[in-house]
C-alpha cells in the first residue's frame, strides 16, 4: 500500500517545478510547458484524494477529466496568442522584447 503522502509529495514537487519554470523562463513555449507541468501535478493530487477516501466516488476522476479538457483549451489559446506575439514582435522571448524597449528608451 502506498501512502497518500507519497502521491502528494510528487504532485507538489511537480507544481513547484512548474512554478519554477514559469517564473525563471522568458521563452513563451517554456512558460506554457511549465503551466502544463503544474496541471499534471494538480491532476495527480486530485486522483489520489479521490482514491483515499472513506467511500469510493468518481468525483476526483471526473474533475481530472474537466481539468485536462480545460488545459487543452487553454494551451490552444496560448499557442494562438504566442503566434500573435511572434508576428508582432518577431520573437517569443519576453526578455528580448524588454531589452529592446529598454535600449529604445535610452
Amino acid at each position: 500500500m502506498i501512502p497518500l503522502s507519497w502521491y502528494l509529495v510528487v504532485a507538489f514537487m511537480l507544481i513547484g517545478l512548474g512554478a519554477y519554470g514559469m517564473v525563471t523562463k522568458r521563452n513563451l513555449i517554456r512558460i506554457i510547458i511549465g503551466a502544463e507541468i503544474m496541471a499534471n501535478g494538480v491532476n495527480i493530487a486530485l486522483v489520489a484524494f479521490s482514491i483515499y477516501t472513506s467511500v469510493f466516488t468518481f468525483t476526483g476522476q471526473a474533475l481530472v477529466i474537466i481539468v485536462i479538457s480545460v488545459t487543452a483549451a487553454h494551451t490552444a489559446l496560448a499557442m494562438a496568442l504566442m503566434l500573435m506575439y511572434n508576428a508582432r514582435y518577431s520573437t517569443v522571448d519576453l526578455g528580448e522584447r524588454v531589452a529592446a524597449e529598454g535600449s529604445k528608451s535610452e
Partner: protein, 218 residues
C-alpha cells in the same frame, strides 16, 4: 503473507521508478537547451504520469492522459515550435539572469516546503485507499457519474473548448488583419507609410491588397 509483503514492496518500487522518471523528464522539459527536445521530454513526462493513474486504478484517465497530453497538447506545442522560426534558437535563454533564477528557486522551494508540511503533518497519512470497482464497472460508473447527474458540466466543457477554438481562430484572423494596419508607434506617426510603395513592404503589396479586400468584405 510473504507474497502480500512482496506485492506491496513491488508496488512501492514501481511508484519510486515512475516518480523519478516523471520528475527527471519534467526537469529536462524545462531546462534542456533545445526547445524541440524539451517538448518531446514534456510528452514523455505526460505519458509517464499515466503510470500513477495505473497505480491509482483509474484506467480511463490513463487513456485520456496519453491521448490528450502526449498525443494532443505535445503535438500542438511541436506545431507551435515548427511555426516559429526563432523558437529553436538556443540563445533564447540568455536573458535568464541569476537573480531571476534565484527568485524562481526560492518560490518553488517555498511551494514544495508548504506542500511537504501539508502532506506530512496533516493526518492524511492515516487514510487508506478504498478498492475501486473492476475495470468495466469503473468506466461504466464514471460514464454514469458524468452523464446522469452531472451532464451540465460536460456541456460546459464542450462550450469552453468550442470558445477556445473559435477564440484561437479569431485571434489569428485578427493578427492577419493587423498585419495590414500595424499598430507600432512608427506607423501612427507616419500614416503616409501605407501610401509608400518603396521599401520592404512593397514586395507583399499585391498580396496584402487582396487580403484587405477579404477583411473588408467580412
Amino acid at each position: 503473507m510473504l507474497m502480500q509483503g512482496l506485492e506491496v514492496l513491488l508496488e512501492q518500487a514501481e511508484f519510486f521508478v515512475i516518480a523519478i522518471v516523471v520528475l527527471g523528464l519534467a526537469y529536462l522539459a524545462l531546462e534542456h537547451r533545445e526547445i524541440t527536445y524539451a517538448v518531446f521530454f514534456f510528452g514523455f513526462m505526460a505519458a509517464a504520469v499515466a503510470g500513477f493513474y495505473i497505480l491509482l486504478e483509474a484506467p480511463f484517465l490513463v487513456g485520456i492522459q496519453i491521448a490528450v497530453y502526449t498525443g494532443g497538447i505535445s503535438a500542438l506545442i511541436i506545431f507551435g515550435v515548427l511555426l516559429l522560426p526563432r523558437a529553436q534558437d538556443s540563445s533564447l535563454e540568455i536573458f535568464q539572469t541569476p537573480r531571476r533564477r534565484r527568485l524562481g528557486l526560492l518560490l518553488s522551494a517555498a511551494v514544495m516546503l508548504l506542500s511537504a508540511v501539508l502532506a506530512f503533518f496533516y493526518p492524511w497519512s492515516e487514510l487508506s485507499p478504498v478498492s475501486p470497482p473492476e475495470l468495466p464497472q469503473n468506466i461504466q460508473g464514471l460514464a454514469a457519474w458524468l452523464w446522469d447527474s452531472h451532464g451540465i458540466y460536460v456541456e460546459m466543457i464542450a462550450l469552453i473548448m468550442l470558445t477556445a477554438l473559435v477564440g484561437s481562430v479569431a485571434i489569428l484572423k485578427r493578427m492577419k488583419a493587423e498585419e495590414l494596419r500595424p499598430l507600432t508607434a512608427e506607423s501612427h506617426q507616419e500614416p503616409a507609410g501605407r501610401k509608400d510603395t518603396a521599401g520592404s513592404g512593397s514586395a507583399s503589396q499585391p498580396e496584402t491588397a487582396g487580403e484587405e479586400k477579404e477583411v473588408g468584405s467580412e
